[in-house]
Amino acid sequence: MNRVVITGAGTINALGQNVPDTLEAMREGRCGITELDFRDVERLAIKIGAQVHDFAPELHFNRQQLSLYDRFTQFTLLAARQAISQSGLKFSGELADRAGVVLGTAGGGVSTWDDNYRAVYEEGKNRVHPFVVPKLMNNAAASHVSMEFNLRGPTFTVSTACASSNHAMAQAFQMVRSGMAPAMVTGGSESMLCFGGVKAWEGLRVMSKDACRPFSANRNGMVQGEGAGVFVFESLENARARGAEILAEVVGFAMSSDAVDIVMPSKQGAARAISGALKDAGLNPEDVGYINAHGTGTSANDKTECAAVADVFGTHADHLMISSTKSMHGHVIGGTGAIELLACIMAVRDGVIAPTINHEELDPECAMDVVPNTAREAKVDVALSNAFAFGGLNAVLAIKRFS
């Protein structure tokens, strides 16, 4: 089995339009949540989100590309360009034939659906643009990455709601570990911040109208974000042979299904995914220094997640740090695990733990070291990234400082 390392990272999200800016915002505990700005926002009850502002797609894509790229594809391509450029990989010959792209998204081209439903239902138009289907399909982003970079190996999209990008990165990890692919481009993207996207979420009544406050006793729901995170996963052998810079090592993962309820999380399902990731990585609970929590800021998630962590880690639960960066970049749904993996890389590589901001009151049901409000310096060898999706589908990744 190959060791798997990360040799490139890219992102765009409300905190920054590249990795250094995003990590700086996380270190400073900056909040990317603002008033939403899009058509018909005045008809929504929820008017905040971690929206990407100051983004000019025409600076990155030509007119023909723009007619084919939904916003979630645009985000993916920007992040992929950064990650592949950092990795230094050029895809040709056998490498190109074997390397592929596995990405996560929950909704795909939501704003393309939204714009075109508006055109035919509200505006009564009987004709839509020819590329509506190739623009909105969930695999559009993976396909465009494969085309732009000549990645001709296994390429597909994984859609498991809020765990999509963790499930996607788990697939890429397995492919590189098993030797099926020497390198994979992986991560996820989401862009649901449009009228129909937010209106659908409003229906669940789990959205906060004012702030995302994970683990805080006064939390009142989640806040949605948008963006993408993309990485290059590569075999250690391949990375070493070409002298690539290694950001971190991916050491294990596990997935599980609660098989209980379509929206309510289960402690057992979450705990099985966390302990499974440790077992897969050959780690003891005491090896883990930091967990990037799913930490949505809903009542149900945060207390279930803390109970699951307490079950798996026992007394070590009091000695590890667990923070939710969703307090800053919002819940990026199918892209969230990819953006959160950046906080895990920062923990193991830079020794900086991103905080849970907006933490105002201790909740006895979430009585852990949630790194409240201010980032912290700490030496961490192993970090976990939790993702627990609607549908009861859980995926946990373990990464380690490379040495």
Binding site: Q64, S67, R127, H129, P130, F131
Partner: protein, 85 residues
């Protein structure tokens, strides 16, 4: 603006050339408009004149719509616009 000017403008836009470079005997091939770009042309022309163009992207030669040159395209569109009126 007459039909000819408007259609040539749409075709030139897709071909990313100046409208003056589009002549009546230009073909889609000489203009570098592939089948996918042509579907976008059809969409823009339908939008511009509010007509339905009987174009079958599966098999363009089976369409009643002759796309062998800019001239034939213009004739078909002029006929459709007249029928509409």
């Amino acid at each position: 603006m007459n039909i000819e000017q408007r259609v040539i403008e749409i075709i030139a836009d897709q071909a990313m050339v100046d409208p003056s470079d589009v002549t009546l005997d230009s073909t889609l091939e000489t203009l570098g408009i592939d089948s996918v770009a042509f579907v976008e042309c059809i969409f823009s022309i339908e939008e511009a004149f509010d007509i339905q163009i009987p174009f079958n992207a599966n098999d363009p030669s089976e369409s009643e719509f002759d796309i062998s040159s800019v001239k034939s395209i213009l004739e078909s569109i002029t006929r459709l616009v007249d029928e509409q009126a």
